[in-house]
């Protein structure tokens, strides 16, 4: 059951993105930024957490979930360490994903070459 919820919620979030892509001049880079910021805001006002509880990875895997983690981290940091925590909390909570992207990006660029499309 939780797999079905993850599939449907994750899929629907992507459909919203596709509709924006197809009906506006926005590029995928715009969508990434918009969805991430939306995730931070929804996470900040507490609206995203119920969705994470309901859909699990369906809510955390889309970039909205990345924004939610940033917001959660910043709020928790602020709770325990005040202003300094507000600065450090977001990146701390998402450090794994960011570090992985940097390290694996670096490794892949050494191992693989881009291939021409045809």
């Amino acid at each position: 059951m939780e797999y079905i919820r993850a599939f449907i919620v994750g899929g629907l979030i992507c459909v919203i993105g596709q509709i924006i892509l197809d009906t506006t001049k926005l590029t995928p880079a715009h969508i990434l930024v918009t969805f991430l910021t939306a995730g931070v805001i929804l996470g900040g006002i507490g609206l995203y957490e119920p969705l994470v509880k309901f859909a699990g990875a369906g809510a955390t895997v889309p970039i909205l979930g990345f924004g939610y983690s940033l917001a959660q981290g910043a709020i928790e940091g602020a709770k325990s360490n005040g202003v300094i925590g507000a600065f450090t909390g977001g990146i701390t909570a998402t450090a794994g994903g960011i570090a992985a992207a940097i390290i694996f990006g670096y490794i892949m660029s050494l191992v693989f070459k881009p291939k021409t499309k045809n």
């Binding site: 590029t27 995928p28 881009p114 021409t116």
Partner: protein
């Protein structure tokens, strides 16, 4: 006195320069397209053993020019000038080609209009008596253009239906003061026309107004009508640009529906090859002209052709600053007879 000037933007050559040799090299995708039998050399690998796409493009242009010179039974010393250009920043493919050839070089930037820009200027230099033999050339490469103007190759984005596919390849023409044709008899130099299109994935619409302007000017200056040509062919307007040109010329009273097409529409099979609106890039007009059109004229199947390469003079930087994309189109009349 501009003795050879005709009307507002056209020149008529008194001693029309002759095309004495051409050569074309294309990438693997172009080599699977409908015009594959007209190209001189089809690459199996578009990197051609080079370390980067830019270096590969330079090698393609260099080998194309060398082969065109060779085809004409000439040596580098016989050539007075190279007139060439490409899409890359600082036209590096052309510069690094010229570095290898030690022939006096004029670098041109006209984006995808370069083929007719170089042929117009080459013909003027020869008819003016400043040279006997001139090489006119240009190149483009899908992957070097993608990374400069769009996204990395491995980035997972969708191309919309108005987008075009940059042709990998190069074409070179050798013009001579003597020869038995086909000849360049007229050249109409285009003005920049910009109707405010900002969408970099709809180059056809950005260039079409310039194409319309040059065509109308050409007919007015020369007194020709569309039916005087066996073929009127634009460079890389693609399906959308082609349809706009047909519409707008009809409004102005010119019917091109029988003999007008576009190199970008002809070079790929849009359905099978998934190229959306068609081919683009400097090489699009260059390989279709130096391959298909030249060979058909040599056979006598085409007698008089109006070739009009079209350029979207697009810079990502000023485009991001909010500017629109200026278009240009230069037309030349190529005739198997001198007059």
């Amino acid at each position: 006195m501009a003795l050879k000037k005709l009307g507002s933007q056209t020149v008529k050559f008194h001693n029309p320069p002759s095309i004495i040799s051409t050569y074309t090299i294309v990438g693997p995708k172009e080599g699977e397209g409908p015009l594959k039998d007209y190209f001189d050399f089809i690459l199996e690998d578009d990197m051609w053993g080079q370390a980067s796409f830019e270096k590969a493009e330079a090698k393609i242009q260099e080998e194309t020019i060398k082969a065109a010179i060779n085809n004409g039974n000439l040596t580098n010393q016989d050539i007075d000038f190279i007139l060439s250009g490409d899409l890359l920043n600082q036209i590096v493919s052309s510069t690094y080609t010229a570095r290898q050839l030690s022939i006096p070089y004029y670098g041109l930037y006209g984006a995808c209009s370069t083929m007719t820009e170089s042929l117009s200027l080459g013909a003027m230099i020869i008819d003016g008596g400043f040279a006997d033999k001139v090489v006119c050339a240009t190149s483009s490469h899908f992957s070097s253009a993608e990374r400069q103007f769009r996204f990395p190759l491995e980035y997972g984005s969708q191309r919309n239906f108005s987008s075009q596919w940059t042709v990998t390849g190069a074409g070179a023409t050798i013009l001579s003061s003597t020869g038995d044709g086909p000849y360049i008899t007229y050249a109409t130099t285009g003005k920049i026309v910009d109707k405010g299109i900002k969408d970099a994935s709809n180059m056809g619409a950005a260039m079409a107004p310039a194409a319309v302007d040059t065509l109308i000017t050409h007919f007015k200056d020369t007194g020709f009508s569309p039916s005087d040509y066996d073929l009127i062919i634009s460079g890389d307007l693609g399906k959308i640009g082609k349809s706009i040109v047909l519409d707008l010329l009809k409004k102005e009273g010119y019917d091109l529906s029988n003999n007008f097409t576009d190199c970008g529409v002809e070079i790929f099979d849009g359905e099978k090859q998934d190229t959306h609106a068609g081919g683009s890039g400097c090489a699009c007009a260059a390989v279709v002209f130096n391959g298909y059109i030249y060979k058909e004229m040599k056979k006598g199947n085409l007698k008089r052709v109006l070739l009009m390469a079209t350029g979207a003079l697009h810079s990502t930087i000023i485009n991001q600053q909010g500017e629109s994309i200026p278009g240009i189109a230069h037309a030349i009349t190529i005739d198997i007879n001198k007059d």
